[in-house]
């Protein structure tokens, strides 16, 4: 017994090093899988406060561009609204429908945004106090941003589409051919759409949208256009480079989408599994 204690005291530096290193490496390995540990997350009081107070200053430098982005979105929405046939007559009826609508939309702003790593996350305003919960989709006015992964009372952490662990269901806008959207960790403007079957009519410049096969994003949210593609002859699948509509390096105003029938759908799925 005494010898063990003497041994421990003699080698305490090495032991402390090994213990702490194991913790650090354990956290690292965990963070490389999609279902991340919540132990180390920027969605907490201290880092949230520091980052959001810095963002309060930063946002002034960016006001002009962000205003333009918002105005462009307004322009788009107004064009759609005015071009609905007999919009005036149907509007009151439509408003009633909104109460019971399938998708709830909450606005929010980005506090911190990373795009310099292989696995990137965003921190956004709003948490459980604003009835934001895990696994909700996040979009900007131009395209998709990511999926909420961790929530604290006031802040939420979003796993960005610029993360090698994300895979999002997407399709060709024209033809409903599905594929999986992933990121290779290089260019923050280019994602790749893989596993698109050979029969799909892939053309440069075609639009890619979300597939609607998940409960996270609604169908037909725009993602980007095809900038390059290759057919893998051995497997018979296309791999397509998608240039994002969204500028992931310059995000400010975002929307959180909640599918109000998600819990119902999940219950059904779980019943099925049992």
């Amino acid at each position: 017994m005494q010898q063990i204690i003497i041994f421990l005291i003699k080698n305490k530096t090495g032991l402390v090093f090994i213990i702490l290193m194991t913790i650090a490496l354990g956290l690292t390995f965990k963070s490389h899988t999609y279902h991340n540990s919540k132990l180390v997350s920027s969605a907490n009081f201290i880092s949230g406060t520091v980052l959001s107070s810095s963002e309060n200053v930063h946002q002034y430098f960016d006001l002009k561009t962000q205003n333009e982005v918002l105005q462009k979105e307004n322009e788009n929405l107004r064009r759609k609204l005015l071009n609905i046939p007999s919009a005036k007559d149907s509007l009151p009826i439509k408003l009633e429908f909104i109460e019971d609508s399938l998708y709830k939309i909450t606005r929010s702003t980005v506090i911190s945004n990373h795009y310099d790593k292989i696995d990137n996350f965003l921190l956004i305003e709003g948490g459980t106090k604003d009835s934001i919960s895990k696994d909700l989709g996040v979009i900007s006015s131009q395209g998709i941003v990511g999926i909420i992964q961790d929530v604290s009372p006031k802040y939420s952490r979003v796993i960005s589409i610029l993360n090698t662990n994300t895979s999002i269901n997407a399709k060709l806008k024209k033809t409903y051919h599905f594929g999986t959207l992933t990121w290779d960790g290089k260019d923050p403007n280019i994602l790749s759409l893989i596993d698109v079957p050979r029969s799909a009519p892939v053309k440069l410049g075609d639009t890619i949208t979300t597939g609607g096969r998940s409960l996270v994003f609604p169908e037909n949210v725009p993602i980007g256009i095809i900038s390059n593609f290759q057919l893998d002859e051995n497997i018979g699948y296309y791999s397509i480079d998608v240039k994002l509509f969204n500028d992931m390096t310059n995000l400010k105003h975002i929307y959180i989408i909640e599918n109000s029938r998600k819990s119902e759908a999940l219950e059904l799925l779980n019943l099925d599994l049992r």
Binding site: A24, L25, L27, T28, L51, Y115, D116, R157, T249
Partner: protein
């Protein structure tokens, strides 16, 4: 007591500078200079090794919390804290062994070697854990080399600035 005080202030300052200023740089889209290893570099030479390791771990994990990066900063900072005596001996030679070393009295070349070794090892561990795949080997080398150049420059400049102020 005074060392504790100075180091806690440095701790907070370095993290804030790193998170609020340096992480916004994004040179070429993916390179950010890293300054916080300066805390470990400037620790007193006679510090107890267990204290040093725990401090390094807390420093690293704080960075990880801000960056949402798992435990990569903690691992990298621990590595340099553990290897520091080795680097000190390599860079400063005999004067470290006889414990007569004063950091700012040492020639610039020796200080430069010491800082470079610390930063290079830190960045190598950091980015290899961050990227964590052989497919991105070239990206890893690019990121490590470029970031190291920026970080070493930044830390050397900061070291000279601190000295002028304190004299």
């Amino acid at each position: 007591m005074k060392t504790y005080f100075i180091n806690s202030i440095r701790f907070v300052l370095l993290i804030l500078i790193q998170v609020l200023i340096l992480n916004q740089f994004n040179v070429f889209g993916y390179i950010n200079p890293i300054i916080y290893p300066l805390l470990i570099i400037l620790l007193p030479f006679g510090i107890k090794s267990v204290q040093k390791l725990i401090l390094a771990f807390i420093l690293g994990i704080s960075m990880d919390i801000f960056e949402d990066s798992g435990g990569i900063h903690a691992a990298a900072t621990l590595a340099i804290a553990y290897l520091r005596p080795l680097f000190l001996r390599n860079a400063f030679g005999l004067s470290y062994d006889y414990q007569t070393l004063k950091f700012y009295d040492a020639p610039f070349k020796e200080r430069f070697i010491y800082v470079s070794l610390m930063v290079l090892v830190h960045h190598t561990v950091l980015f290899s854990l961050e990227i964590f795949s052989v497919d991105h080997l070239l990206y890893f080398i690019e990121k490590t080399v470029y970031s190291s150049i920026f970080s070493i420059l930044l830390i050397i400049i900061t070291l000279n600035l601190i000295r002028k102020n304190s004299k």
